[in-house]
C-alpha cells in the first residue's frame, strides 16, 4: 500500500480528491479559493490601515489561513515520507522543447533546479521569474477575483459564466507566456 502511495498519483485520483476538498469546504460553510489568502495575509500585516480593500476582520477568514498552513504541511509530509523519487514523467516532446531552451535535465525534480535557486535571484532572469511572475499572480488573481481553485474548479463546477471568462483569460495569458515570451525569458 505504502509503495503504491509513493508512486506518482494519476489524474483520476487527484481530480476527485480536489473535488472532495471543495465539497468539504462548502459543507463546513465556506468556499474553496486559495488566492483569497493573499488578501487575508495583507490584512493580517495591517494593510487595512492604508487601504479599505484590506480593512476587514481577517479572523473570520482564519479557517482559510489554517487550510493554507495545512497545504504547506501536506507538501512537507509528502516530500519527507511519501516520495520514492521526485522525477516528473513529462512527455518526450516537452523534454526536447525545454532542452532546446537550455534547461538541464528537464523533469529531474519538480522544478528546473538552476532557475529555482537563490543564486538565480542575483540574475535578471531570476528576478523576472520570481518577482515579476509572483506579482502578476498576486495582482491578476485579485483583479479576476479568484485563481485556479476559485474559478477553474469552484466557479466552473457552479457553471458560473464569470468563471468561464476568467479561465479563458488564464489560458490566453498562459499560452502567450509559454509560446511567445518564455523562449526569450528562459534564455535571458
Amino acid at each position: 500500500m505504502l509503495e503504491a502511495i509513493k508512486q506518482p498519483w494519476p489524474w483520476y485520483v487527484a481530480g476527485p480528491v480536489i473535488a472532495f476538498v471543495m465539497f468539504a469546504l462548502i459543507y463546513f460553510g465556506n468556499s474553496f479559493g486559495l488566492s483569497a489568502n493573499f488578501r487575508n495575509i495583507c490584512s493580517v500585516f495591517g494593510a487595512g490601515k492604508s487601504c479599505d480593500f484590506f480593512a476587514f476582520d481577517w479572523r473570520k477568514q482564519l479557517w482559510n489561513l489554517v487550510f493554507l498552513a495545512g497545504t504547506v504541511l501536506g507538501g512537507f509530509v509528502a516530500s519527507q515520507f511519501l516520495m520514492s523519487d521526485t522525477s516528473v514523467a513529462i512527455s518526450e516532446a516537452t523534454v526536447a522543447d525545454l532542452k532546446a531552451l537550455g534547461i538541464n535535465n528537464p523533469g529531474n525534480g519538480f522544478v528546473p533546479a538552476d532557475l529555482f535557486s537563490f543564486e538565480s535571484l542575483l540574475s535578471l532572469k531570476g528576478v523576472v521569474f520570481f518577482v515579476v511572475g509572483g506579482f502578476l499572480v498576486g495582482f491578476g488573481t485579485r483583479y479576476a477575483g479568484g485563481c485556479t481553485s476559485g474559478h477553474a474548479i469552484s466557479g466552473l463546477s457552479d457553471l458560473q459564466p464569470a468563471s468561464l471568462v476568467a479561465v479563458i483569460g488564464f489560458f490566453i495569458g498562459g499560452l502567450l507566456m509559454t509560446h511567445l515570451l518564455l523562449p526569450h525569458l528562459l534564455t535571458l
Binding site: 504547506v72 507538501g75 483583479y143 471568462v165
Partner: protein, 137 residues
C-alpha cells in the same frame, strides 16, 4: 478544535498536489504546450465531479455541518475584470509554474525560493487593492 478540520483538509490537498505533480513547473509548461493529458485530466475530472456535487448540494438543499443552508453566491458577471485579470494571472502562472496554492505547497517541499514569488504576490495583491478603483471591472 474548530480549525482542526481545515488543517486536515489542507494537508490532504498539499499531499495530493505534490503526489500528482501539480506543483511542478514542468507540468504547467507541458499543459500550456498541450503535450500531455495529465493536467487536463486533473482539472477536468475535478470540474465534472464538482458539477455533480454542486447540483446535488443545490437540489437536495443540503445544510452545512452546523445546520445552516448552503449558499453558493453567483459571481457578478462582466467581461473586463475576469478577462484582463485572468490574462494577467495566466502570464504569471505560466512563468512561475505555480498558482497560489502550489506556491505554498512548494514551500513545504523545500523549494524556498518561491517565497520570493509569494512576497511579490502579496505586493501585487496590495497594489491591486490600492488602484482597483481606477481599473475597468
Amino acid at each position: 478544535m474548530k480549525y482542526l478540520k481545515y488543517l486536515v483538509l489542507g494537508i490532504v490537498f498539499g499531499i495530493t498536489l505534490t503526489k500528482a505533480e501539480i506543483i511542478s513547473w514542468y507540468r504547467i509548461y507541458e499543459m500550456f504546450k498541450f503535450q500531455a493529458f495529465h493536467m487536463y485530466g486533473v482539472i477536468g475530472s475535478a470540474v465534472v465531479l464538482g458539477i455533480v456535487i454542486t447540483q446535488i448540494i443545490k437540489r437536495t438543499r443540503m445544510k452545512t455541518l452546523s445546520g445552516e443552508p448552503i449558499v453558493i453566491s453567483p459571481k457578478k458577471f462582466s467581461i473586463a475584470r475576469y478577462l484582463i485579470g485572468g490574462i494577467i494571472f495566466g502570464l504569471g502562472w505560466a512563468m512561475t509554474g505555480a498558482c497560489p496554492g502550489p506556491m505554498f505547497i512548494l514551500v513545504g517541499n523545500g523549494v524556498f525560493v518561491i517565497l520570493v514569488a509569494i512576497a511579490s504576490g502579496l505586493l501585487g495583491t496590495y497594489v491591486y487593492g490600492r488602484i482597483k478603483h481606477k481599473l475597468p471591472h
